[in-house]
Amino acid sequence: MKCAQCEELFTDLVNHELAPAEKEKVERHLAGCPDCTLELVSFKQLWGEMEAVETPVPSAYLKVKFQAMLETYKESVKEEENTAWDTLKEQWKRLWKVQPRWPMAYNLAVILAGFAITWWVAVPQKTGDQGQQLKVLSAQVTELKQTMMLTMLENPSASERMRAVSYTTELKQADAQVIDALLTTLDNDPNVNVRLSTLDALSGMAAYPEVREGLIRSITGQKDPLMQSAIADVMLKLQEKRSVGSLKKLLRQKDLDHGVREKINQTINSLI
């Protein structure tokens, strides 16, 4: 065995990854070679010193976060099952109660009712019941979607959070809780793509005054050039004159991106 060959096996030697025959060869070489022996001593020293390299331990908070993640995940699994069940139930109901789901038939029934009050009075609860049931069912679905979305917004994965945001566009109406969650995401989500899609979703809800106000409030807190520019676009689209003050405040930031500065100036000019 040559010195170079011997040296090549040092890592394997300290790792106890040498076959017995190889190990024997190395030992035989070392016995007759002071150079390699010295080299091995210095190698072992380095190998030993590596043990002193600090590996920190996670904070106690990690376990808390893990538990929260697990609970959230379990909830979302449960909700998925519930949603599947609800969809099934709904479809099944639709199969044998076709008429009331059909708005035309429903309207027709109302018109007919005007002419045939006696008949209407004879079977009032049934029709009322079905309408009521439908309302309850659709409210349940909306509520479920909302809960699911709120849970998903807490998800550690950015793509899951994006999915949650896209859910909100499916909601026929957003309640205060959803709006609040979206505005919080807009300001605080660590992922810029999530924040951008949240902005997109919120701009579709501009009919709600609290959404508009929230968007305006959010302007000065945005640090990312992408976000600053996107929110300026939204303000222009919404023709939101009240945003001018916040936009001007943004201009006062010294480190503002050059392109963004230009865009905000244009936006302000078009708004006033």
Binding site: E8, D12, A52, P56, P58, K63, L70, Y73, P156
Partner: protein
């Protein structure tokens, strides 16, 4: 007391007993954190990534077949999470993070430690930080995570011979960086 193997725990999780993943968390959150820390030198990011590893294990639990080791599966998930993270945040994984490393090492020291030892340790950690990611990865897995070559090969999807060579080269590289720093 607790004699359940990692694999049998994971198979229970797969079967729907999601709480059981807590046992795997207890066993592996520290080693995974250690691995991710040595690859990024960022404490908070490493914690987030550990969290993501366990989330992905839950999400993809049905893909666990039980034919391989859970531990290896976890490390490969951790590597993917790391890759995503680097792509997303353009995390600086070497070179300029030396300063960060220095501050972390300083934070981890006890007052009674000797200055000399302190400096040697710091120098070695700096040298580690200057290694290429591939080398740092195998050394972390081999030395700090105490994994055998065949295990690393399994995690990285490489041959055992390739890992043997890589670990050896990583040590050579580390030594030469270290020597250059001492001069």
């Amino acid at each position: 007391m607790n004699t359940l193997t990692d694999n049998s725990i994971m198979l229970k999780v797969k079967a729907g007993d999601l709480d059981k993943i807590g046992l795997l968390f207890e066993r592996y959150n520290r080693p995974l954190y250690g691995f991710l820390f040595h690859m990024t030198y960022q404490r908070e990011t490493s914690e987030d990534m550990v969290q993501q590893v366990f989330y992905k294990m839950l999400k993809y639990r049905h893909t666990f077949t039980g034919s391989g080791e859970v531990k290896h599966w976890m490390y490969s998930i951790a590597r993917n999470v790391l890759k995503d993270q680097v792509r997303r945040k353009k995390l600086a994984m070497s070179g300029e993070s030396v300063e960060v490393v220095a501050s972390h090492v300083a934070a981890g020291l006890t007052p009674e430690e000797h200055l000399e030892k302190k400096q040697a340790k710091l120098a070695l950690q700096k040298a580690m930080a200057r290694l290429s990611e591939d080398y740092r990865e195998v050394l972390t897995l081999n030395k700090f995570q105490e994994l055998k070559y065949h295990e690393i090969a399994d995690i990285l999807g490489a041959s055992e011979t390739a890992i043997r060579t890589r670990v050896h080269r990583a040590m050579q590289e580390l030594k030469s960086i270290y020597v250059r720093m001492e001069q």
